[in-house]
């Protein structure tokens, strides 16, 4: 039966059909929905892990005990999981293990656009690459068979357009895996002591040679003959763009991105007049083909940066002859970037933090939205958890007064992901700076996934909740303060006090995300603007709340001294959006924002 499925739903479905018993992931766009779909299957034990390294280790253990296992992450998540990954390649599997890497060319929601095909090559792991949901479902199933047959984890690489695209896919029933569940001692396989690892490495090389042989005849690496004047090599969604642009061309469509065949490439090159390699991001196939001595057109014609589109493929092949009839966008339109939600507890914290005039090291989450104007109060973002370590390093470099110049902020989920160890570092190595945890009890940016601080697991079942003050105490931190971020002055005073304190201080800014049910307890009726008092000074606009708008309209207002004065405009508050958080009222010098 054919069904319309997103790539992520197809991946989950394929894993379920393949008899998967365990699945783990840390949320990350564009991979997040895979585990959300997975959690709906009763036969599968699914979890949100604190980070991708843990997710892969849980996956490795489940596989070691014979279960077919799916582990999913975004491209940069593989960096976090790289340590177990490279050795898992030596260890291999018992139950099939498929690792999803969901790459994000164009950085729709990421800090870089690394091409994770390189991981398959360097970790010596095969990689399958679907171009739509139907292939995603099939390739995941094939991945489990391949994993067990070749005794290795198998990568399935998706990209944003595959994961978040919907296409028709053939769905089927579930078949349990053939491997028997059970755990047996086998040190040469499971214990990577140097002596055993030295025995495993040749097996890895031998396996990759066998897989390279398979690549020559693998049914998803296929020549689709057509017009001989244009031969296109492509995989993933780039194949679909190229097919759209050149429906009649000859194609070598690669379903397996690593290892790569030699003879198949040579055969295809001999069949066509000119070979174009159409691939997003790096010249991965192109370099391989050039190393084989084949003449190809690649990155000189197609961009190295960002996503491809059918238009870019056409232009790369035909040049100016592709036609330049496309219209230009309307110039100078106001942009519409994402901003913090009305009532977001981060708004109060950053409004207070801004008053301290410090350098703020941050990282990845909704709070990264504090970087652009007018909040302009987040000054670095490198990777998950980086802010704490970066602030500590900067404090060291700045010397004596470093601790009063640089602070760090981190969300609760990011803290659990990779913030505990750098905080431990600060405590251990005599750090005396200020670290702020923005504790909204949820992984908000990716769409509200549970985390170890939420009190519930992926399936919504009640679970324990990390006690942050106790954790800090355990790390040896003596100063721990909790602030209520909607009270801007009190928050500012606490932050100032803690910044000046001569020892390591942890401030927990605690209030639930406005998008989760727990926020009901803090939501209040919408605020109003007293039209008589608003001077149109725009102070309230600096808190960057989407519920507040400035209206250019000359008029008069009554100042706090009772004088009538002229104004150039006034503000209004959208009553449907406002949650009554009161941050804007606290920055209004006229007291014009009222309940």
């Amino acid at each position: 039966m054919k069904k319309l499925l997103s790539g992520n739903e197809a991946i989950a479905r394929g894993a379920w059909e393949a008899g998967v018993k365990v699945a783990s992931a840390y949320p990350g766009t564009p991979s997040t929905e895979i585990l959300q779909f997975m959690s709906a299957y009763d036969e599968v034990n699914s979890e949100w892990s604190p980070n991708e390294k843990v997710a892969l280790e849980v996956g490795a253990g489940a596989s070691m005990a014979g279960a077919r296992t799916l582990v999913a992450m975004k491209h940069v998540g593989v960096n976090v999981a790289a340590d177990p990954l490279f050795t898992l390649s030596y260890v291999g599997v018992k139950g099939g293990l498929v690792i999803i890497t969901a790459d994000d060319p164009q950085m729709h929601s990421s800090q870089n656009e690394q091409d994770n095909r390189h991981y398959a090559r360097s970790a010596k792991i095969p990689m399958l690459e679907p171009s739509d949901s139907d292939e995603a479902l099939r390739f995941v199933k094939m991945g489990f068979d391949m994993s067990e047959e070749y005794d290795c984890p198998v990568f399935v690489r998706s990209t944003t357009r595959v994961s978040h695209g919907q296409t028709m896919a053939e769905v089927g029933g579930r078949a349990e895996g053939k491997i028997k569940i059970g755990i047996e001692k086998d040190p040469p396989k499971w214990v990577m002591l140097p002596a055993f690892a030295r025995m495993r490495h040749p097996l890895v090389e031998e396996r990759m040679a066998r897989l390279a042989e398979l690549a020559e005849t693998f049914p998803e690496n296929k020549i689709e003959p057509g017009d001989k004047s244009i031969g296109i090599v492509a995989s993933g969604v780039a194949y679909q763009y190229a097919r759209e642009a050149f429906p009649k061309a000859s194609f070598l469509k690669l379903g397996m991105s690593w290892p790569l065949p030699k003879e198949l490439f040579r055969k295809f090159a001999s069949m066509v007049d000119k070979v174009y390699v159409v691939e997003e991001l790096d010249p991965f196939f192109e370099n391989w083909m050039r190393a084989l001595g084949l003449e190809v057109v690649g990155k000189e014609a197609f961009p190295l940066v960002g996503e491809l589109t059918p238009g870019l493929v056409k232009k790369g092949v035909l040049g100016d002859a592709a036609g330049g009839t496309a219209r230009k966008p309307e110039p100078d339109l106001p942009m519409r970037p994402p901003i913090m939600c009305p009532g977001c507890p981060h708004r109060g914290l950053f409004t207070a933090l801004k008053k301290l005039n410090v350098f703020v090291c941050g990282d990845i989450g909704c709070y990264t939205l504090a970087a652009p104007p007018p909040l302009s109060s987040l000054d670095s973002c490198l990777c998950m958890g980086a802010g704490i370590g970066q602030s500590f390093g900067a404090q060291k470099a700045l010397g004596m007064d470093g601790r009063t110049k640089v602070v760090s902020v981190i969300g609760d989920s990011t803290f659990f992901h990779s913030g505990v160890t750098p905080l431990m570092d600060m405590a251990y190595n005599h750090g005396d700076g200020l670290v702020i945890i923005l504790d909204n009890r949820i992984t908000a940016m990716t769409g509200r996934q549970q985390n170890p601080g939420s009190g519930a697991d992926l399936c919504g079942e009640a679970s324990c909740m990390v006690d942050l003050p106790k954790l800090a105490e355990g790390l040896g931190i003596k100063r721990v303060k909790i602030v209520e971020p909607y009270d801007v002055d009190a928050t500012k005073n606490t932050l100032k006090e803690e910044l000046e304190a001569p020892e390591l201080s942890l401030v927990i800014s605690r209030s639930p995300c406005m998008l989760i049910p727990e926020s009901k307890s803090v939501k209040k009726p919408a605020l109003k603007v007293d039209d008589e008092k608003c001077s149109g000074c725009k102070s309230c606009l600096n808190v960057a709340c989407p519920a507040i708008s400035f209206i250019t309209e000359e008029g008069e207002y009554t100042s706090s001294k009772g004088e009538r004065k002229k104004r150039k405009g006034r503000v209004t508050i959208d009553e449907l959006m406002c949650t009554g958080c009161g941050v804007c009222a606290q920055v209004c010098p006229q007291g014009a924002i009222i309940e």
């Binding site: 219209r327 994402p338 990716t446 989407p546």
Partner: protein
């Protein structure tokens, strides 16, 4: 049959993703090949959101090639103008006249663009411009504005009303099914 390309645009939180789900489903259930592509992640935080829906005998690219949109559906006026250049010549537009000021306009740094309806009419003289928010309020729930627009869009497509309503019933929250069905019908009437 060739491929029909519907580009849907709006502001995060307005329900563009839901509207494109309904659009893709109705085409799929009518036996066509369908591809849909949108970017999640930032969708809830008031950013600009688009969804590409393509259907026909055989669809390859999940993205609509530039300048080949047969229909542009926009749930906000500025977002309609932002993507208007992607409409093919002779393409149709259905949009919500509602204006949601983006941050730079709210802060008084930029003006909200004027004359949007005229610019839209230059590309599609029969463009359907509907005050969806007003109609949604009349229907009984301002949150159904994008469903009102979906009703208006349905006037440009060959699918039956009953089929649209059947899918809507399944896609919207159970508590608000009735008001959404009313909103859809009122949107379709407004487009007539």
């Amino acid at each position: 049959m060739t491929v029909t390309n519907v580009l849907m645009a709006g502001v995060g939180g307005q329900g563009i993703i839901l509207a494109s789900e309904v659009m893709a489903r109705i085409a799929a259930e009518s036996g066509m090949d369908v591809k849909k592509s949108d970017v999640h992640g930032m969708a809830q935080r008031g950013g600009s959101v688009t969804s590409h829906v393509r259907f026909g005998d055989k669809v390859h690219s999940p993205l609509i090639p530039d300048g080949e949109s047969d229909i542009l559906m926009a749930s906000e006026a500025l977002e309609c103008l932002r993507y208007l250049h992607l409409l093919k010549d002779g393409g149709r537009v259905a949009f919500n006249l509602q204006q949601i000021p983006p941050p730079s306009v709210s802060r008084g740094q930029q003006e909200y663009p004027a004359g949007i309806l005229c610019k839209v009419r230059e590309r599609d003289p029969q463009a359907i411009g509907v005050d969806c928010l007003k109609i949604a309020r009349e229907a009984g729930n301002p949150k159904t504005a994008t469903v009102v627009l979906l009703g208006a869009l349905s006037a440009l497509l060959p699918f039956k009303d009953d089929h649209w309503l059947e899918i809507l019933k399944e896609e919207v929250p159970k508590k608000v099914v009735e008001v959404n069905l009313v909103a859809f019908k009122m949107g379709k009437d407004a487009a007539a």
